[in-house]
């Protein structure tokens, strides 16, 4: 076999770097949407590679729900310092305080959908014309239809039935004032690819992904971390378990799995043997068959 071919991880990396450079070339004011989860960390790492030896030429934007894992915020601040880039924070709490959005009520209330308003506000007030995200097509059926360059109208809405065709490696980011784009450089990566790459590149990720002891309660078949935001019912019991998180969202909705995987090698092995999808523990996706599609149409990540 010829030596002039790339293995699949190198090809995915090359594709993602190409997309990131294309965003930089085609837009005036792009940002990376940074949640502190592994996918946005991966995108940030790829951006570091894409522009080296120059710094990442755009800021990170964090939509802060106020319901964070403390570890995530710490990690975010460290990475900002290390990369020497700016951080833009959009605060859901402020939007609630200003009366822009109303908090959901009840035991299973989350701030998940409230993020949409804050995200769109932050995009508008910072004149962002392209928000780069870590969305992957393998995550969810609505995301399977996403383009690399995905158009949003001047209300921030996605119209999945009327998307621009995307052919070869030619990307069309042309847009009118007030509209913006979302760009997804790791569209073609699967969860397994992400872990294999993180392991290969030895990328730092929050400790939450590694098995650790934590106070949790059992709810809807998953371990929900105890926190000041959690409303615990009488029949629910706080216990300490060794768990790890497979995805990171708000602390109130992200379930963990019992695990002994405390190294990247062990995580990769564990993920390879997983029989549940990654978002299976995310109550935000369980609300209905088209929960993600509906949120994305409105402007969600």
């Amino acid at each position: 076999m010829s030596k002039y071919y790339l293995n699949y991880l190198d090809e995915l990396e090359s594709e993602a770097i190409f997309i990131l450079r294309e965003v930089w070339a085609q837009f005036q004011n792009p940002v990376i949407l940074f949640s502190g989860g592994k996918d946005s960390i991966l995108v940030t790492h790829l951006a570091k590679k894409a522009f080296y030896p120059a710094k990442i030429p755009f800021p990170l934007m964090h939509v802060d729900t106020g319901h964070n894992f403390p570890e995530t915020i710490e990690f975010r601040d460290d990475i900002i310092k290390e990369l020497g880039v700016d951080l833009i924070v959009g605060s859901v709490q402020e939007a609630i305080d200003d009366g822009r959005v109303a908090e959901e009520k009840g035991k299973n209330a989350t701030r998940n959908t409230l993020q949409i308003t804050t995200l769109l506000d932050a995009i508008e007030s910072n004149k962002v014309d392209c928000a780069i995200g870590g969305g992957r097509r393998d995550e969810e059926k609505a995301r399977a239809k996403e383009r690399f360059f995905s158009h949003r109208d001047d209300f921030g809405q996605w119209d999945p039935k009327n998307q621009r065709p995307e052919l070869w490696n030619i990307f069309n980011g042309k847009h009118f004032q007030g509209e913006h784009f979302r760009a997804f450089p790791i569209s073609n990566w699967t969860e397994m690819d992400v872990w294999n790459y993180i392991k290969r590149e030895n990328i730092a990720i929050p400790s939450l992904y590694f098995a650790h002891e934590r106070e949790v309660i059992r709810r809807d078949g998953t371990w929900i971390p105890n926190s000041e935001f959690l409303i615990i019912e009488d029949h629910e019991e706080v216990v300490t378990k060794k768990i790890r998180f497979r995805t990171l969202g708000d602390i109130t909705i992200t379930g963990g799995d019992e695990s002994e995987a405390d190294t990247l090698e062990k995580i990769a092995v564990e993920v390879a043997g997983m029989r549940q999808t990654e978002r299976g523990n995310r109550s935000d996706d369980k609300r209905s068959e088209s929960a993600m599609e509906d949120r994305k149409r409105q402007g969600y990540f």
Partner: protein, 417 residues
């Protein structure tokens, strides 16, 4: 286990009833790429709809409208990995009104899979799918003769279909074709070898996909490097660094190579090829790199570095096979933005030479209007030269899109003749 394994992209074209969704579901299911919660969801839906057993076709369900109407409208991408390769499926609708989506899915594919219902053999739709595979120069075609269980697994039926397909494909630019008799519903010859067709000596579909030689799919001869952006770190440590960032479109570049910058024609030598903190002696397509040169030359996005002894044509007049992708038809002599690699220019469709009747594949000479899904041969004039190769030789430097400046939409995709 996957260390040196390649990525293979394939496209499936088909309509509701030829078993495309079942085939994809079967591939994913038998290669153990489906998770328990997905399976559970499908089981529940199957039960609710009153199907016997698990309807594998439901794995490919997408948007709400598609679920409700039971059709594929847009391209959906699906992923699975085996110990041998990673696969990306571009799952596209097969109906004539979705030609543009098929073209989109086909544009990056190594392999086209074409489904044929064994009961009906080669039909108009088959011709159309083969034509798109040929037009988009997909290097390999797998013809899946499906629903063999409904024709008693007949070797004769299969051989007839092979002959029919060979007759149509011999008139097209399709070189590598494999034929596989299968039943996606029963799982015969998809992942596992069929016990019902001893007469078939070839490999099942998955094994074929896993072992197909795809390293030659990329042009390794003509070194082309479209410049995406210029890296100029304003930092102490790298004050004089000036790197041309881009993804190698084709061929191989080596340190020390004599290069020419197009369109300016300036020449220089490659000083370094950098990938993050490493410098390489050589790099090849499709690597994303940063190239530095021995001389200070004015180079910016849209320029192309090529080896001095092998240059593309610099041309303002190109002939293109054009697929129209938009609801609004082409306006005669209207100006569009043409995008070719990292280069943007203004362009005008000067002449429609002929249109293709997508059903008969014959030429239409008296109708020059280009509407949605129309495929035609046109002459395009650009305001400044593009550095082009023919699409047949180079899928990256041979392809263009047209953008309508009034709507910013991508209205056409073209392959340079």
């Amino acid at each position: 286990m996957l260390d040196n394994n390649q990525l293979l992209r394939f496209t499936t074209a088909g309509s509701v009833d030829d078993g495309k969704s079942t085939l994809i579901g079967r591939l994913l299911y038998d290669s153990k790429s489906i998770f328990e919660d997905q399976l559970k969801a499908i089981e529940n839906t199957s039960k609710r709809k009153g199907h016997d057993g698990v309807d594998l076709a439901l794995f490919t369900d997408g948007l709400r409208d598609e679920r409700e109407q039971g059709i594929t409208i847009d391209v959906a991408y699906r992923y699975f990995t085996t110990p041998k390769r990673k696969f990306i499926i571009a799952d596209t609708p097969g109906h004539i009104q979705y030609t543009r989506n098929m073209v989109t899915g086909a544009s990056t594919a190594n392999v086209a899979t074409i489904l044929i219902d064994a009961r009906y053999g080669v039909i108009e739709q088959t011709k159309r799918h083969a034509f798109i595979a040929s037009l988009l120069q997909i290097p390999h075609v797998i013809v899946c003769v499906n629903k063999m269980d409904l024709v008693d697994f007949s070797e004769e039926t299969f051989n007839n279909i092979v002959r029919q397909f060979e007759e149509i494909s011999s008139k097209m630019l399709i070189t590598d074709v494999r034929y596989i008799p299968m039943s996606a519903l029963l799982g015969d010859n998809v992942v596992n070898r069929s016990k019902n067709m001893d007469w078939y000596q070839g490999a099942p579909m998955l094994h074929t996909l896993e072992t197909m030689h795809i390293s030659s799919d990329i042009n390794k001869v003509d070194a082309r490097f479209p410049v995406q952006t210029v890296l100029r770190p304003q930092s102490e440590a790298h004050r004089d660094y000036r790197g041309y960032a881009g993804r190698i479109a084709s061929g191989v570049f080596r340190k020390g190579d004599e290069i020419t910058v197009m369109p300016s024609g300036f020449t220089s030598k490659i000083k370094s090829i950098d990938v993050f903190e490493k410098s390489l002696d050589e790099a090849h397509a499709p690597m994303s790199v940063s190239i530095t040169l021995e001389d200070d030359i004015d180079i910016s996005r849209g320029d192309m570095l090529v080896r001095s002894n092998n240059k593309p044509d610099a041309s303002q007049d190109i002939e293109v096979m054009l697929c129209w992708l938009n609801n609004s038809p082409a306006r005669p002599r209207a100006k569009y933005t043409i995008k070719h690699t990292s280069n943007n220019q203004k362009a005008m469709i000067k002449e429609v030479i002929y249109k293709i009747d997508i059903n008969t594949l014959g030429r239409i000479n008296d109708d020059k209007e280009l509407g949605m899904n129309d495929i035609s041969k046109v002459k395009i004039r650009t305001t400044k030269p593009l550095m082009v190769d023919s699409y047949r030789e180079n899928r990256v430097t041979g392809s263009i899109i047209l953008v309508d400046d009034a709507t910013n939409e991508t209205v056409a995709a073209g392959m340079i003749v």
